[in-house]
Assembly symmetry: C2
Homo-oligomer: 138 residues x 2
């Protein structure tokens, strides 16, 4: 038995569209479904937006992809293996910064110990004002 493709291992059929959606998510880092579609269209112009939505959902169900919320609007998608940083979103300029997850370790532990709550700090962004904008406000 030869080694299986990662999608087949998850019990999914291997279609060009599905492979390309996964590849696009991996290349892009927090991309919207529309952005994923654009990327896929570079090599597969015919792909339908609803196919992208359906595959993102499927890939999320098997744990290859995850979504998070960076702004007031819709979700953005990450490859599951790289979701290892916090998103710092500036409400003033819209910039999305990053910070290592460890920054939140203490906070996460407190919530676990005091509330029994297991936090996924990457699902929602951390909202506030970035250094540049905070400076400008003075």
């Amino acid at each position: 038995m030869a080694e299986q493709h990662e999608l087949r291992e998850k019990g999914l059929r291997l279609t060009p569209q599905r492979e390309l959606v996964l590849a696009a998510v991996r290349e892009l880092d927090h991309a919207t479904p529309e952005e994923v579609a654009e990327r896929v269209r570079l090599t597969h112009p015919g792909i339908n937006l609803s196919t992208v939505y359906r595959n993102l959902e499927t890939l999320e169900n098997v744990g290859l992809v995850q979504h998070s919320h960076l702004g007031h609007g819709g979700a953005t998608y990450h490859a599951a293996e790289v979701l290892t940083h916090l998103h710092l979103v500036c409400g003033a300029c819209g910039a999305v910064g990053g910070a290592p997850i460890e920054v939140a370790a203490n906070f996460v532990n407190t919530l676990a110990d005091d509330y029994g709550f297991k936090t996924d700090v990457t699902h929602f962004a951390v909202y506030g004002t970035c250094a540049t904008c905070a400076q400008a406000e003075l």
Copy 2:
């Protein structure tokens, strides 16, 4: 000079719709625009949904109301004066718990000191798994 209505103090016209929208937000605690509209309709059946949206925006601009994001979808509105707790949203059962802001004080300070980022911990919910659901998973 008599004391002014709080809306007039903010430079806003006093309309029945606007007063009712504010009252509804205060009574409901994190309500969607649609829920606010429903509540207002109890006493003012004719109110239009777009009036609710416009008033929520107006009230937010003058600081009487704030929105935050508790789920994957749209925003929910709080009276500004009560937005003093974190929201702990369980991805498994949907429950929305609360925790005092102080729980995040350390986290907020770290982000300020190390990244110059001024965090508003109430804008996005803290996402994860509640104690009950974490228990059930075992």
